[in-house]
Amino acid sequence: MVSSCAAWGATSSTSIFSTQSTPATEVDHLAYFVLVICALIFIGVSSLLIYALRRYRARPGENVEPPQVFGSVQIELAWTIIPVLIIVTLFLGTARVLFSVQDARKPASALDVIVVGHQFWWEFRYPQYNVITANELHVPVSSPAFSRPTFMKLTSADVIHSFWVPSLAGKTDLLPNRVNEMWIDPQETGVYLGQCAQFCGMQHAKMLLRVYVDSPEQFQQWIANEQKTQGETAVTMQASLSVPGRGNAGQGDPPSNSPAARMETVAQPAGTLQAINAHDGKLEFERQACINCHTVAGTVANGRYGPDLTHLMSRDTLAAGAMPNTPENLKKWIEDPSIFKPGSLMPAMRLTERQDAQITAYLLTLK
């Protein structure tokens, strides 16, 4: 069981046995220890049972009742005391990991993140940087040379959720009216997947979670970009439509694949008299109810009910990982969220095709 799990773990990024962070790794080691003890107990008990079943089966022609044995105090004591010793061992092993993970001291270098669970998405706040984002958590790598763990405070805006990224740590619940804490110190850069692990309503299944572990430089770049408000970039809006790349930590996409370029192909079938442009889209966005729930920092949009859209285009997925962040998906999502996520709390606003295209064009500028 152990080896096959490890083999499968190699192909899955969500295995609890392919760990990249101290809280998960400590649990992983404990798990192997417990597995070995349990496997030994199982082998012992089941071999005795199989032996007894073979040895003492009724043979044809045997009609005498076997000797009746009613019990033995010594034997009962033996199989009381031995399990007690096993339990003491297991408990001490557990207690060591339990206290070292749960009561770990927060170093001064730690990154603080506040995680707020919502039906059915994640809000991440970085109080040290005054940054708010959603669904895709960026944290710096914590190498042995430069340890920078991330300490999270978790709470919920509505019902109970649970934060679970198996490679990084066990889960911690997010409860309304309460703040829980957990920490991770990812040792390797990369994207780690997880999802909500406490049933929270209709779209619990699509409350997915991505943790981007960046190199310290990438993380600084990402933070710097997130700190910009759209007010500062508004003047370059027209220009930015034609500039390729998604502005995410310097990893530009090829020009032919840029959201803006692809957006034009999406907007064409609308066949409208006036070209779709992001400036009109911004006005439309602000005229509609969008701004009641969404924030775009630097504009009048300051709603807090839905995800912060200030840097929507810096994210790889939409709607808490329900689909890739492509212009087509974005436009369809705005048209009717229930196509992707029936039960999503974002309503279909009954926009016209043109309004939808305009708002999409605007959102595509939010890099």
Binding site: V45, E65, Q68, L90, V159, I160, A197, F199, H204
Partner: protein, 569 residues
């Protein structure tokens, strides 16, 4: 009475007491038969009603499980909508625990406890009937929710908040409409029925025993039922209180669990699990009770360590009331709290270990007959050991941070409730069906049932552990194709259908054998407890003459006057 065989106080008495005529009640019209079942206060008829009611819900909740498994066969499958899926798993869990598990076990308890302690009925026959009918009402109410509201296709107002119904999802802000009301009121009503039956069983075991049956001569089945009933009394009460509080929140402006008004979500979790964990033992103790009766008979040996078994059962009941927060290791308890509940949970494994080893020692040195009840009991033993070991893994609070709410947990508790409980219940059905109906179940169909069940069970629930280890949470209506969970989910689903076929074979066997089965006679298994001393099915009065016992195995004394148990007790 008993005078013709001096030295064996029970023997002659029972023999003389046997009513050898099969009861031929005049059947009357169809309406009269139905009427007689509705107004009955006979513990045997109520037991049969309970068992049939539970078996119907077993099929219903089984269909729900199959629909869940079809939906999860492919990633991003659209067999049912997310809303329907959430209703399906909520109803599957609620039904299996409250409408299948408890009624089924209360049914066996109702039928067997008076027979095994030599009583003519339960202590409170009318309370017994009331308990059954209020439970039946709860089941009908819960299932009416499917057609309430917008009807079947939209699945009406069926509850969709998971079987543990965590607050504040159940508050009106997050669950408008009546889904939660159906759930809460049905649980409340069935809880009243459970409390009634628990009181009844306790009173019966402690007040209605036949002459000579001291506490330490009670067969283990009534002993465990009494223990389980105490546990029911203790644990159903907080559950019922929590339902009342939830309804107060929803309709009278209370704020117990309403977090938006300062209530506590954790409070509900404590209330629910202080019921929910002992509930597992409420369900499994009767399972142990069946094993305690069946394994000795088919090993042809007395149970090993009777007093240790009694002590272990009572010990399980005590300890199990102090472990509930192991369902809450991720909810944000202090490290000390987590450590406490780790240790208390591990302690349960000591009495359960004692029981397991005693069954092993009972088999040891016996002369084992591999008939269908014993086959199911052996599978129960193996699966119970595995379920116990995965339980130990889950009690390791630090590891539970990973395993909690994953498919590993789902696999674990299905190992307990299907691998152990349902298997031993099947053993009990094969073992006592001849007593209840007077006919033997077909042995060949029984073997088919057994082997298909074993294959299906292990395909489903062995494999189900692995998606959990690979990060698959429970209660999700679909999953992403890139996670590596697809193949495992498909094996799990196929296994589910094999189990369904096995259960249909049992249903066919029960119906077929009722009409065509071999005559059972009073004692087809050559067993030792009092229910086998009277005809099958037993007459309404059970015992023509009150039996008198001198040991735990009165029929052994009767059959082996040269070596009676009474000489050793």
């Amino acid at each position: 009475m008993g005078t013709d065989t001096p030295g064996i106080p029970i023997g002659g008495g029972i023999e003389a007491g046997i009513d050898r005529t099969r009861p031929h009640a005049t059947r009357g019209t169809y309406l009269e038969v139905v009427h007689s079942w509705i107004v009955t206060v006979d513990h045997k008829k109520l037991g049969i009603l309970y068992i049939s009611y539970a078996l119907v819900f077993l099929l219903v909740a089984g269909v729900e499980a199959l629909m869940i498994r079809v939906q999860l066969f492919f990633p991003h499958n659209t067999f049912v909508t997310p809303a329907t899926f959430n209703r399906l798993f909520t109803m599957h869990g609620t039904t299996m625990v409250f409408l299948m598990g408890m009624p089924l076990l209360f049914g066996f308890g109702n039928y067997l406890v008076p027979l095994m302690i030599g009583a003519r009925d339960m202590a409170f026959p009318r309370l017994n009937a009331f308990s059954f009918w209020i439970s039946a009402f709860a089941g009908l109410l819960l299932y009416y929710s499917f057609i309430g509201g917008v009807g079947l296709a939209g699945t009406g107002s069926a509850p969709d908040v998971a079987w543990f119904a965590y607050a504040p999802l159940t508050e009106r802000a997050f669950s408008p409409g009546h889904t939660v009301d159906y759930w809460a009121i049905a649980i409340l009503a069935s809880g009243i029925g459970s409390i009634g039956t628990a009181i009844n069983i306790i009173a019966t075991v402690f007040c209605m025993r036949c002459k000579g049956m001291t506490l330490m001569r009670i067969p283990l089945l009534p002993w465990l039922y009494a223990t389980m009933s105490f546990l029911t009394l203790i644990t159903i009460s907080p559950l019922t209180a929590a339902q009342a509080m939830l309804l107060i929140d929803r309709y009278l402006g209370g704020h117990f669990f309403d977090t938006q008004a300062g209530g506590s979500a954790i409070l509900w979790a404590h209330f629910f699990w202080i019921f929910g964990h002992p509930e597992v033992y409420v369900l499994i103790l009767p399972g142990f009770a069946f094993a305690n009766e069946i394994i000795p008979v088919f090993s042809r040996k007395a149970i090993f360590g009777y007093s240790a078994m009694v002590a272990a059962s009572v010990g399980i009941a005590f300890i199990s009331t102090g472990v509930w927060a192991h369902h809450m290791f991720t909810i944000g308890m202090t490290s000390f709290g987590n450590a406490f509940f780790t240790l208390s949970t591990m302690l349960v494994s000591i009495p359960t270990g004692i029981k397991t080893f005693n069954w092993l020692a009972t088999v040891w040195g016996g002369r084992i007959r591999f008939e269908t009840p014993m086959l199911f009991s052996i599978a129960f033993l193996f699966q119970w050991v595995i379920a116990g070991l995965t339980g130990i893994m889950l009690s390791i609070s630090a590891w539970d941070w990973q395993l909690h709410n994953s498919y590993f947990v789902v696999a674990h508790f299905h190992y307990v409730l299907v691998g152990a409980l349902v298997f031993i219940v099947f053993a009990a059905i094969y073992y006592w069906y001849p007593k209840i109906t007077g006919r033997m179940l077909d042995e060949r169909l029984g073997k088919w049932h057994f082997w298909l069940m074993v294959i299906g069970f292990h395909m489903t629930f062995d494999v189900m552990h692995f998606p959990g280890l690979l990060g698959m949470p429970r209660q999700i209506y679909t999953y992403e194709p890139d996670r590596g969970w697809t193949l495992m989910n498909q094996i799990v689903s196929i296994g589910g259908f094999i189990q369904a076929i096995a259960v249909l074979i049992l249903v066919y066997n029960m119906v077929h054998s009722y009409f065509r089965g071999d005559e059972a006679g009073p004692d087809p298994w050559d067993a030792w407890t009092l229910e086998w001393s009277i005809p099958s099915p037993p007459p309404p009065y059970n015992f023509a003459i009150d039996p008198v016992v001198a040991s735990r195995r009165p029929l052994w004394d009767l059959k082996h006057p040269e070596d009676p148990d009474s000489a050793f007790e």
